[in-house]
Amino acid sequence: MKINRRFLGCLSMVVILSCFAGQTLSLKAASLFSNSTTKKQLFAVPEGGWSSINVKVDYIERYSSSGNNNTLNHRSKCVSYARAYATSCPTVSVGNVAHSNGKSFTSWTKEAVMYDGSVWDGCSYWSNYGSVTYSKTTSVTGNLPFILSCDGAVPASSSGSVQLAFK
């Protein structure tokens, strides 16, 4: 009798565990378009040496899909930099995201970011939560411009950008 109860208890446990094992967790991966670029710029300075800045700029557009459309509802821009200078400090300035249909995003919130301090001297990350909807086959693209500059150096500045296609 006891053995039968124990057997039934174990069998029940096996059945219960099997029911849970049979479940699959449904994880909805975030959909995103992303691209990045790096730029290493030298600036000649008056004492005969160089100031330099090395940057990595990331541009991400997150979206949700519905039917034949994607709704882009969260975009981020991130810049990491490393610089070397004595008297003339080089800087990087990241602009606003603009879509090729004329839509631009000018309100950004700074967010916390972790970065590899052995590679980069600093890193900044911003997000914008404006929403736009495009067809999945849209030809609209996104552009994130940036400028590297060094006051009193030659060249005085150099520009770059990160492009994104939304299909």
């Binding site: 730029k39 290493k40 710029q41 030298l42 000649a44 300075v45 008056p46 004492e47 005969g48 040496g49 160089w50 330099s52 070397a84 200078y85 004595a86 008297t87 400090c89 800087t91 300035s93 700074k110 001297d121 600093g122 900044s124 911003w126 009193g152 030659v154 060249p155 005085a156 150099s158």
Partner: protein, 214 residues
């Protein structure tokens, strides 16, 4: 008529595109031309032992020379500034560099010759992998040889490397202190720029340079 209008529009677009491309090429050519002239000046000066090294102004611990000021003045004039403005800004720049160097040495940032050569090796890699490597080559090509150029850079970085190390540590301390604030990154960067300018001003004031040779 419609065909003629289409042709005119097409010609107009071609003209605009040519102007834009031309402007971009011209800007790069102008930079290369400036840097080639700068390279020729540095090479000539580097080989001219007859250039006098008169002291222009004496500070508490360091001095600035007419030779150094004239070099910076030349750089600014190549960038388009007039002679008078270039001289005034050159005096300020050389004061800043000398004061920063003295502060670096006072704070224990002196370097050995080997450390400078090691840095030159890293600088060669930086130049080689830079997006505007051609700007550096425009200068290097003006020297009698590439080694001649790097030998010259050694003399520049004997002073610049201590300054770079000193300034880098100050910047990192400043940025770490600012990281916990809720300020926007561009605001923190702007504050660093102001802090750095004020540091240079304070160091110059500490040297209390007196002009000895007008």
């Amino acid at each position: 008529m419609k065909k003629k209008i289409k042709i005119l529009i097409l010609l107009g677009l071609c003209l605009v595109a040519t102007c834009l491309i031309g402007a971009s090429v011209l800007a790069h050519t102008t930079t290369s031309t400036k840097l080639a002239a700068w390279g020729r000046y540095l090479n000539d000066k580097n080989h001219d032992a007859s250039v006098a090294d008169d002291i222009y102004a004496q500070g508490e611990k360091t001095c600035i020379t007419t030779k150094d000021i004239e070099q910076v003045q030349n750089f600014y004039m190549l960038s388009g500034k007039d002679e008078k403005t270039a001289w005034e800004e050159a005096v300020q720049y050389v004061k800043e560099r000398e004061a920063l160097y003295q502060a670096a040495i006072d704070n224990g940032y002196s370097v050995t010759d080997q450390e400078v050569w090691d840095y030159i090796d890293e600088l060669k890699k930086t130049v080689d992998s830079a997006d505007n490597k051609e700007d550096a080559l425009a200068i290097i090509r003006q020297f009698d040889s590439e080694q001649d150029y790097w030998n010259y850079e050694f003399s520049v970085y004997q002073k610049n490397l201590p300054i770079q190390n000193y300034v880098h540590d100050i910047e990192q301390t400043f940025m770490q202190r600012s990281a916990s604030s809720k300020k926007a990154s561009n605001e923190i960067e702007s504050e660093w720029q102001q802090y750095f300018e004020q540091l240079k001003t304070d160091l110059i004031n500490k040297e209390n340079y007196q002009i000895v040779n007008k």
